[in-house]
């Protein structure tokens, strides 16, 4: 579904990604692990057209999509969900969701997606008239995910959805991500080190200092002792 080859990304003079190649097949959950500040978020942003300077080649559904602005990619079904949530604080939950369906591709499906989102996140339905700035951390995280789903995406790039959440909420978020995936949406997920993350993953990558240092499926990851110690926390 999506194949990135030899991606290089820069922040000013700083070389963040060095020849990163990854592949995500349709219907998979691919998990990207790695320490903080080693380029995981940049990789997602590069794919979603949000990074500053990107070189390389990204193929999505047999089409080259490198160096396109985010608004075009959202319209083709690629949506980024930020680790910082990036909600619109002075708007209601409902308005945030509606803006999630801003792209041309999402507009006709707005009502259907709204129903779907409220089924996944009943809490948001209760709070639909509340300003986003009044939500708790967990609810805001849910809203960020929900707003992403409103774009009618079939490829979601989810950036550290568990950041700053309590352990029980983390499990809840991962369960919802699994459910989203089961509805046919392909997911590229970035996380730092969470136990149980492997259960979710069809494929794992480890990104260190801007380079892919491990690539494999669940069993290979669990078999790799170094990986188990450092990233999976087992």
């Amino acid at each position: 579904m999506l194949r990135a080859t030899n991606l290089n990304a820069y922040y000013g003079e700083f070389h963040v990604l060095e020849n990163v190649s990854i592949e995500v097949l349709k219907g998979q959950v691919v998990v990207m692990l790695g320490p903080n500040g080693h380029g995981k978020s940049t990789l997602l942003k590069a794919i979603c057209g949000l990074a500053e300077k990107v070189e390389g080649k990204i193929i999505y559904n047999e089409k080259e999509i490198t160096v396109q602005p985010a608004e075009k990619l959202v319209n083709q079904g690629i949506t980024y969900i930020s680790e910082n949530r990036e909600l619109f604080p002075q708007m209601t939950v409902m308005e945030n969701l509606k803006l999630g369906a801003y792209s041309k591709n999402a507009r006709p499906h707005e009502r259907k997606n709204l129903k779907k989102v409220f089924r996944l996140f009943p809490r948001l339905k209760e709070r639909k008239r509340q300003l986003a700035s009044t939500l708790s951390g967990g609810e805001a995280r849910m809203l960020a995910l929900a707003r992403g789903l409103m774009s009618n995406a079939n490829f979601l790039c989810v950036d550290e959805p568990c950041l700053g959440l309590q352990p029980n909420l983390r499990m809840e978020v991962l369960r919802i991500i699994k459910e989203i995936n089961q509805q046919g949406i392909t997911i590229l997920l970035v996380e730092q080190n969470i136990p149980k993350i492997t259960e979710l993953a069809d494929q794992l990558y480890v990104l260190e200092e801007g380079q892919v240092t491990f690539q494999g499926n669940k069993d290979q990851a669990l078999g790799n002792t170094q990986l188990k110690d450092i990233f999976l926390g087992m």
Binding site: A70, E71, L73, V74, I81, Q90, E95, L99, G100
Partner: protein
């Protein structure tokens, strides 16, 4: 004394409503794109001159009908074009905010001097939008003042409705509240920047049409308006549209009172006094937030 005071209040209310319309436009552009438009006042004069030309073409009888029908789309178009051609290319550069100020300052000088070349330095006047006056006991309210007040309040309400209910308005608020979030959901920022610039140009242009019939149109009129809109924006809180509405009425009233008590030449002094006081006591303005 009592009747005079009512006159002052009516004048303050009328001017305040137009100031509110114009300040809301300036705040919109500042809030969404963080660009400061120095040519804002010149678009005020432009509105006046466009009205004057249309009046000359269509005659004064049905003049204002055509003036509003034709000038609003024209002003929108001019605003959109100006943003795309001279502001937008700067946005990718370093220190673009300062560069936008310089470029729009240049545009203001160009426009003002063009007005002088094309229309001459003599003041032009527009006929009142409505003749006659309403008299209740001894209080006289001219229909012109009422029409100006109603039209500017209607424009503000229309603007508010657009901001809250249309896709463009929602997108503009989204960009103002969180540009990164707006990019993520796929809002094309360049179009939003240009559209809000266009809307603000139409708002100040309409303000020019409304106020020019009470005063006059002359080539350098815009500077006064720019200063007022700026003071209102700072007083109300940078980027807060609600704040600018309150601030506009307060300033309109203050101007009317100062003009009545001390004479018209003190009005600008009063404006700057408000600005200095605001910056000294509450730099974020009435409804502004830090950061």
């Amino acid at each position: 004394m009592y009747l005079e005071l009512i006159d002052v209040l009516i004048s303050g209310l009328t001017n305040g409503s137009v100031y509110a319309l114009m300040a809301a436009g300036l705040t919109l552009v500042y809030g969404v794109s963080k660009a400061f438009n120095f040519a804002y006042g010149s678009f005020f004069s432009l509105g006046g001159y466009i009205a004057w030309m249309l009046m000359a073409v269509f005659g004064t009888a049905k003049g204002y009908f055509f003036v509003f029908i034709l000038s609003v789309p024209l002003l929108l178009l001019i605003g959109y074009g100006v943003e795309r051609i001279i502001v937008s290319p700067l946005r990718k550069r370093q220190d673009w905010e300062v560069k936008v100020m310089m470029v729009t300052l240049g545009l203001a000088l160009l426009l003002d001097n063009s007005f002088q070349v094309v229309f001459g330095a003599r003041m032009k006047s527009l006929p009142p939008i409505m003749e006659g006056a309403l008299t209740i006991n001894d209080v006289i309210v001219s229909y012109q003042d009422m029409a100006i007040f109603i039209l500017s309040i209607a424009s503000i309400l229309c603007f508010r409705w657009m901001l809250n209910n249309t896709r463009l308005g929602m997108a503009a608020r989204a960009v103002a509240q969180n540009p990164a979030g707006a990019q993520i959901v796929g809002i094309p920022q360049n179009i939003i920047f240009a559209s809000t610039f266009a809307v603000s140009t139409a708002m100040v242009g309409v303000g020019g049409i409304l106020l020019s019939q009470k005063y006059f149109i002359s080539p350098a009129d815009g500077w006064d308006i720019l200063v007022k809109a700026w003071v209102i924006t700072a007083f109300g809180g940078m980027g807060s549209i609600r704040g600018s509405l309150y601030a506009a009425f307060i300033l309109g009233m203050l101007e009317a009172c100062v003009g009545w008590l001390f004479g018209m030449s003190w009005i600008l002094v009063a404006n700057f006094a408000v600005l200095v006081t605001t910056l000294a006591i509450r730099p974020q303005g009435l409804f502004g937030k830090w950061g």
